[in-house]
Amino acid sequence: MLALATALALLAAGCGRIAKPLGWAAPVAEGDQLFVSLDHGAITAVSAADPPQPLWHFPQKDTRVSLTVKDGDNQSNPKAEKLKLEGIYGDPAATAGMVYITAYSGHVVAINRADGTGKWAAQLPGRIIGGALAEGGRVYAATNRGELFSLAADSGFVQWRRHVAGGVWSTPLLVNGLVVIAGMDGSVSAYDADGNRHWRERPAARGIAAALTLADGRLYAASFDQRVYALDPTTGKTLWRSAAADNWLWTPPVVSGGLVYAGSLDGTLYAFDAAAGDTIKWQHDLGEMLRSRPVVVNGTVIAGATDGRLLGFQAADGTPLWEQAASGLPSEPNAPRGDLYAALLARQNAVYFITERSRGNDSLYVFDVSARTVREVKLQ
């Protein structure tokens, strides 16, 4: 009886562990540096040389950063505090001298690019899933409680905050001098640098979790209502909406060569006609969820399935070109392994990506598009 009760209690507690926010920030390139989130809640700067070399990690074990904002309120006497960052979901935003990261714990952190020291940290109320936008001496970030914050880039203090939607997962985007943000209620809003709203539309029936894309004079949004929307960037009015996909569209739209590519959680890669959208030009089932933003390199669309496979398709007509198998086999030591959630990064005929396994190994995968070979580069 006692043993049974204990076993059941342990089972009950063991099954109910709190889910750890892992984060899925993609590698980002800026100048001669790459920024990669290898540890959950941490970021590593890497030289973009071949092979890539680590420059610094943030935060270090005893890193303390001046906390200028606590729970959304400016601190009159900011103190240097030890940061406990949770998973980083949004892509880092890099400027000439700084890199800004957002964490699920609600933190926005400014880091000096040169040496990886923290300049300031602002802790906003709620969770941050999208990334930051650094523009015009301000840093913009939005929370899952639906608030858009404008922070002073040099000090981190809150300049203004606006309630923009029921919740925000997306990253703010600069469009014609306005900060445009999508909400989990399917809305898209535009604010100027002073926090004045210029327009607000609700094109989608459900949430827009992925970042918006500005291309060819149009704003594109992929929604949980299984459609892509093309919007007028000056008014937010819907220009077209795509045919329905088979599940939530999770990846940001990628626009190239008159087509809009988007991936669904049913594992289908779609190519919509950028002119009209209601036509699906081609589609392919990858067999696994598609959570990683695809890239287009030299006329090839490269998509990564969640099981770590990379697949190449002819961008124009969707003809399958190749598949780089994911593997756990010792006989295939170079095949990518682990779950692939983070977006792919294309740079100089190479695709950089991280999987959950490579993050655990402090390494980064580099896929040579021409040779179709993968290397795992250790960054420790």
Binding site: L2, A9, A12, A13, G16, I18, Y89, A205, W248, L265
Partner: protein, 324 residues
């Protein structure tokens, strides 16, 4: 197997839960409370059967102990025990059946909660294959994670839920244990005493490490269990303060073991009157009078419970002869 389990049980429960969240003002906390109540009401007949069966087994304990003392031969002992069960209309596995049927439901409910209150973006992605393509359900994503002072996907940092889980677990354990009216061995008493404090302490400790949505579920399901134990075991006929007195059974003395027809009558919805004037047996003594021989049409009632009820006449263990 996992696919069938998910498709037939877990996913429908997730969708019902989300519909409730939408109907209950978009509050996932209220949905957890309502869903827990709904599931407990749906399994109420099974739970009651289990409780009644368990109680009848407890009532037979002294007579089983006597049989064990009386008969040294294991085969004979088993025969006599089975005979006792037959006469009392009790299936020794009777309390296990309903419990086994309920287990998958509880595991599924538990799984539903861990899948939905996780609250991280990863869990939201995981829901995409589980939600039905119905606007009411799809529109709910991402699920709200705040309820009162709680972030349902996180621990309760105020310790209020820790205290609530501890108290309700203690009460539920106490009510079910104190209902053991039969004399218990020293070892059983020791185990019960340990359980009474260990279970609340363990669950209170777990509350510090699991999402508060799960702790909310534990609190609600404990409260429902307390109410059921309170009525099924007859606590409502007593002063509530007796619950907190050490060693207090639900009734003033051990109840008589029912004859088979009486037990059958109780099975059919507990129709027997608790106010029967039939005297209760004194605890431990286990001889039978002639008028209560098997086959007697006289029905033993679930008396003995009321205050002031005189001790029952003892009766002989059926089967007569003793081992040498």
């Amino acid at each position: 197997m996992g696919f069938i389990w998910d498709t037939l049980i877990v996913n429908p429960m997730i969708n019902v839960m989300i519909v409730m969240e939408q109907l209950l003002f978009g509050s996932f906390g209220l949905a957890i409370v309502a869903f827990t109540i709904l599931v407990r009401v749906a399994t109420l007949p099974l739970t009651l059967r289990q409780l009644h069966s368990s109680r009848r087994m407890q009532e037979l304990t002294p007579r089983i102990q006597e049989i064990q003392k009386k008969y040294k031969d294991p085969k004979r002992r088993q025969e006599e025990t089975m005979k006792l069960y037959r006469e009392a209309g009790v299936n020794p596995l009777g309390c296990l059946g309903p419990m086994i049927i309920q287990f998958p439901i509880w595991f599924a409910l538990y799984r539903v909660l861990t899948l939905t209150v996780g609250g991280t973006p990863e869990t939201v992605a995981g829901l995409s294959h589980r939600l039905y393509n119905v606007s009411l359900i799809q529109d709910a994503v991402p699920l709200p994670t705040t309820f009162l002072w709680l972030d349902l996907g996180r621990q309760d940092t105020t310790y209020i839920l820790v205290i609530l889980v501890g108290i309700t677990t203690w009460l539920q354990t106490k009510l079910s244990m104190a209902s053991a009216t039969a004399p218990q061995s020293a070892q059983t008493q020791q185990t019960n005493k340990m359980l009474l404090w260990m279970m609340p302490a363990m669950f209170a400790w777990f509350t510090l490490t699991v999402p508060s949505g799960l702790a909310l579920y534990w609190t609600v399901t404990n409260i429902i269990g307390i109410v059921m134990n309170y009525f099924v075991y007859g606590w409502h006929r007593k002063d509530w303060r007796d619950i907190f007195r050490p060693g207090q059974p639900a009734t003033d003395g051990p109840r008589p073991t029912r004859s088979a027809p009486a037990a059958a009558a109780l099975t059919d919805g507990e129709r027997a009157t608790p106010t029967s004037k039939r005297p209760a047996r004194s605890g431990g003594s286990d001889t039978r009078t002639n008028d209560e021989q098997p086959g007697s049409k006289r029905k033993d009632r679930r008396g003995g419970g009321g205050p002031g009820t005189p001790p029952a006449r003892s009766r002989r263990v059926p089967g007569g002869d003793r081992d040498p």
